[in-house]
């Protein structure tokens, strides 16, 4: 089998980041190779076909479907306006004062199709424009004709474990004095408007509400209580697929659910970059093709490109590897691997598993299943 442990979350000062900015349908790319773009720069645009609304003309006019041809004023592809007649029957005996029934379009758009079997006319609504922004500050390094672009930058990079809310950006401001302090509402004020704020071990529900109220763009924090998450969203997240919530403030949790100190390395990195612009996305998908929430801090100096790593090599667990325990009874504790015994061992639960010995930062040692640790990478 592959690795018996969970690969860690990336936390690094300098990494080459490439983002594919792709349209949902083919359209127009608005930038060219080599262009420098800002996060809110629109790089591609397209029109999504409008909604289809059926109109049962035969029913409405009381005629058999096969006679539809004789009453239609419009043909497939013709533009229509709401209220405009699309079909009209001839008046009785050709006498205008006896009238003729008519059927009007219900939306603006075009006629999609006319069915002589069901008597149904399908109306296609006006197309909806869709834009894709650059999301990060950087350079267009590839143009995918009619589809989108690849934007690249060198950046400080923090991967979270869980998030809510979509893409946004703002200047980083660390608001807790250390990685352990709880981010409570009294630490948030009007000065944090449009900022990405950084907290310690937990963000309280009240703090999250206050952040939204003052217009904070994003929050990066060690932990969040599930009960608060449910109260905040108004529903329970059943499966970890997020990013489309309309929360106004994007949340990135770096360690997990509950009160857990943000890893010192992550806190220190964010502290070093305080004041810089960060691009943040809470989208999470824990399934095949995993997506983690993230914080990207683009660097603009030329030197940064030369020094930056293009990827962080994934190394196996070794003696001395820094790890985080990701399950009870040592959940959230950080330490270093001190032994990797090969044979399977029986746990307290009587399960047999491969284990490792860890020495926690407190100096205490414990045996933990390898499946229950995560490498600290970066």
């Amino acid at each position: 089998m592959g690795h018996a442990y969970t690969p860690g979350l990336k936390v690094t000062d300098s990494l080459v980041i490439r983002k594919h900015r792709i349209l949902p349908l083919k359209g127009d790319v608005l930038v060219k190779l080599g262009d420098k773009v800002k996060p809110d720069h629109v790089v591609a645009r397209t029109l999504l076909p409008g909604a289809v609304v059926p109109l049962n003309v035969a029913n409405k006019m009381g005629i058999p479907p096969e006679d539809l041809e004789t009453v239609m004023l419009k043909k497939a592809g013709d533009p229509i306006k709401a209220g405009e007649p699309v079909a009209q029957s001839k008046p009785l005996f050709g006498l205008k004062f006896l009238g003729g029934s008519k059927c009007e379009a219900t939306i603006d758009g075009t006629i999609e199709s006319i069915s002589h079997i069901t008597g149904q006319v399908l109306q296609r609504g006006m197309p909806t424009p869709v834009e894709v922004k650059a999301y990060i500050e950087g350079e267009v390094i590839e143009v995918l004709p009619r589809e989108g672009v690849v934007v690249q930058c060198v950046a400080g990079f923090v991967q979270g474990i869980f998030g809510i809310g979509g893409e946004t950006n703002g200047a980083i401001q660390v608001v807790t004095p250390d990685n352990q302090t709880v981010l409570s509402d009294n630490l948030i004020n009007e000065a944090h408007k449009d900022k990405v704020i950084v907290g310690g071990s937990l963000v309280t529900a009240a703090a999250l509400r206050k952040a939204i109220q003052v217009g904070v763009r994003g929050i990066v924090v060690g932990g969040f209580d599930d009960k608060d998450l449910r109260d905040f969203l108004g529903y329970d997240i059943g499966v970890a697929i997020t990013g489309s919530e309309d929360t106004r403030t994007t949340l990135v949790v770096t360690e997990g659910f509950g009160q857990i100190n943000m890893a010192q390395k992550t806190y220190d990195l964010l502290k070093r970059h305080e004041g810089q612009m960060a691009c943040i996305n809470g989208a999470t998908q824990i399934r095949a093709g995993v997506i983690r929430p993230e914080l990207v801090i683009p660097e603009t100096a030329e030197d940064d490109y030369k020094q930056a790593k293009t990827d962080i090599p994934v190394e196996g667990l070794k003696i001395g590897s820094p790890i985080r325990v990701i399950r009870h009874p040592y959940f959230g504790q950080l330490g270093r691997v001190t032994d990797l015994p090969a044979p399977l061992q029986v746990l307290e639960s009587e399960s047999r598993a491969r284990i490792l010995e860890v020495e926690f930062d407190s100096g205490k040692r414990a045996l933990v299943p390898r499946a229950n640790v995560e490498m600290i990478e970066g």
Binding site: M1, S115, G238, I286, R327, E348, S349
Partner: protein, 617 residues
């Protein structure tokens, strides 16, 4: 691969199952007059980047088989050596696949509870995940249905509607909606989305007119030719055909894998359904199989509502699972329902966080006993909910008028009633990590009893290494090998549960029993809310020991012959033994006080030797 004139000439078989994370290979050989599993190997699946070739994972898993068995299976170029000659090569190679998200379908019909439900049954039975069911009366407006069809990107659509000779308008309307949505396939861009039409034969031409320009339309026999009968076979066969032609052909490396295989590659759940149907057929029994995974739970059943014709059903509970979907189980079941299985107190806030942490880090395992007990409590609820969904789906055909006599008026069975009959069920088979890898087999047995609540006499078993998919596809090539290996190597026979139905408010006897064990007869009385474990093991050939037993239920209880009626039955042993369950049916813990509930749970867990000790008090 080599060709054989008779299946009996096949002596060596290699079968793989390409799952979304792991590819599992098994080696079966004909030794001393019987087919047996010789070894198994596994390797990570290689469908996704950077490998993007499923055959690499298959070859790695087969290489592990070679190492473990000493049989050389691959030549220097990494191709199967065939036919087998002595200790080299294999006669047959077969495979199933659920990699890349399995087979994802959308189905459509005219009436939700009739043709649309039949179409859903056909798709599920073929091993698909049904993304949505569109019907004329599904309470959505046409434009909402069109939006939905457009947004989903299924691998294929099954369209049905109308009985043969009936009205054509409604089914053509559905075809027009599909056409307006202009649906795109999930994988690949260079081909049209396949749509199978299995509706009213009189509507074939107008459906072709509406759809054939935009999609790859296939027409098969109506899956509901008359209201009283389903004909799901042709639609299911076409689904498998298209799965090979389109879905598999789009996935990286599958063309090569298909060229190696001696039988069509089948969707994994389709193959599991096949082995369960085969076993139910051969032994003339009713069986339920469950596979509880990280994201989903599949339930398969074969019942005989009219006592002879077997009816197969499969359901997929898409968001009931033990890791990715664990939080959803918790949300659907609710906290009190999960906690009723936990014999100690836990803080709600902490519990909720633990569940979410398992969801975001799905590969972790319970280290402490407390965590194991809690995880198994959630598993009970996931299984229970999945079975509720299955019972609601596995029904007699809806919309069929029934002629009733005065006698029938006293029976409450109606159109759409479930065909799941726990009293006549003979065998319950569990698989999936939480059941197959429970540290003690008795834990698996009790989890299945608590969640499925079998009635009467029911055999219990688990598929220890999830071999059912490979054996399912093997039934197409060498059914004898499939059934022999299934009985002797695939199943771990846990034993038999004996559970009378009925309740009583006061403590007292539920039944008297007398069991003729090999070393003497055991007799006794089972009391209300009591559980007993009577050891009865396995024979040397891997099959369970079988003994005779007599039960005399109390006048409030029934073991299948009526209240208070004496019953004589054969009981099968297993690694756990015979479990006598005196908790009654319907089973209800809600009448107990909190202290009583904890006391009884601890007693049952101790009496059945479920855990080494039980934390807390």
């Amino acid at each position: 691969m080599a060709k054989f004139s008779s299946p009996d000439d096949i002596k060596v078989i290699v079968a793989t199952d390409c799952g979304s994370t792991t590819t599992k290979a098994i080696l079966i050989e004909y030794v001393n007059g019987e087919y047996r599993l010789l070894s198994r190997g596994e390797a990570p699946t290689t469908v996704e980047a950077p490998f993007e070739d499923v055959t690499m994972g298959v070859l790695n898993a087969v290489a592990e088989l070679e190492e473990l068995s000493g049989r050389r299976l691959l030549d220097d170029k990494g191709r199967f050596i065939s036919p087998a000659n002595g200790a080299i090569g294999t006669d047959v190679f077969i495979s199933t696949s659920s990699a890349g998200g399995g087979l994802q379908m959308m189905v459509a019909g005219v009436v939700r509870s009739m043709t649309a439900e039949s179409a859903e049954r056909a798709a599920l039975g073929a091993g698909a995940i049904v993304m949505d069911v569109i019907a004329s009366n599904d309470k959505r407006l046409p434009h909402q249905q069109i939006e939905r069809i457009r947004h989903l990107r299924p691998d294929m659509i099954l369209l049905s509607g109308g009985i043969d000779g009936g009205t054509t308008t409604h089914v053509v309307e559905i075809a027009e909606l599909v056409s307006a949505a202009d649906p795109r396939p999930r994988l690949g861009t260079g081909y049209k989305l396949p749509i199978i039409y299995a509706g009213n034969k009189d509507a074939r031409e107008p459906v072709k007119e509406a759809l054939s320009d935009k999609v790859d339309l296939r027409v098969v026999d109506n899956l509901r030719p008359v209201l009283e009968r389903e004909n799901l076979g042709p639609a299911r066969e076409e689904i498998h055909e298209l799965f090979m032609e389109h879905v598999m052909a789009q996935a990286p490396g599958y063309k090569k894998l298909m060229s190696w295989a001696d039988a069509p590659i089948m969707p994994t759940p389709g193959a599991v359904g096949l082995i369960i149907q085969t076993i139910a057929d051969i032994y003339n029994i009713e069986a339920v199989g469950v596979d509880i995974g990280g994201a989903t739970t599949d339930v398969f059943s074969v019942f005989r509502p009219d006592t002879k014709t077997p009816v197969f059903n499969r359901t997929v509970s898409a968001n009931l699972g033990m890791s990715y979907s664990i939080s959803n189980v918790f949300a659907e079941a609710t906290l009190p329902m999960v906690m009723r299985w936990v014999p100690f107190k836990m803080d709600e806030r902490d519990l909720r966080n633990r569940v979410k942490n398992k969801m975001i880090r799905p590969t972790t395992i319970p280290q402490s006993l407390e965590e194991l007990i809690f995880e198994q409590a959630i598993a009970r609820e996931a299984l229970r909910l999945a079975f509720v969904q299955h019972k609601n789906f596995a029904t007699v055909l809806k919309g069929v008028q029934q002629q009733r006599t005065i006698a029938d008026a006293f029976e409450q069975s109606a159109s759409g009633a479930t065909i799941v009959n726990m009293m006549s069920l003979n065998m319950l088979i569990g698989s999936g990590g939480v059941l197959s890898h429970a540290p003690r087999r008795a834990q698996s047995a009790l989890m299945m009893i608590d969640s499925f609540l079998p009635e009467g006499v029911t055999r219990l078993a688990v598929d220890s290494i999830f071999m059912m998919p490979q054996l399912g596809v093997l039934t197409e090539v060498q059914p004898k090998a499939a059934t022999e290996v299934f009985e002797k190597d695939c199943l771990i026979h846990l034993g038999t549960c004996v559970a009378p139905t009925g309740t009583t408010k006061k403590p007292g006897p539920v039944m008297k029993y007398s069991i003729d064990l090999p070393d003497g007869s055991v007799t006794g009385t089972l009391n209300h809310l009591e559980m007993k474990l009577i050891p009865l093991g396995i024979q040397e050939n891997g099959l369970p020991k079988v003994v005779k037993a007599t039960f005399e239920p109390d006048r409030n209880y029934d073991l299948g012959a009526g209240k208070g009626a004496k019953v004589e039955r054969e009981l099968h042993g297993g690694v756990v033994g015979i479990i006598l369950d005196g908790r009654g049916r319907p089973f209800d813990l809600s009448s107990l006080t909190e202290d009583e509930r904890v006391k009884y749970l601890r007693t049952w867990m101790t009496d059945l030797n479920i855990y080494p000790e039980i934390p807390g008090k």
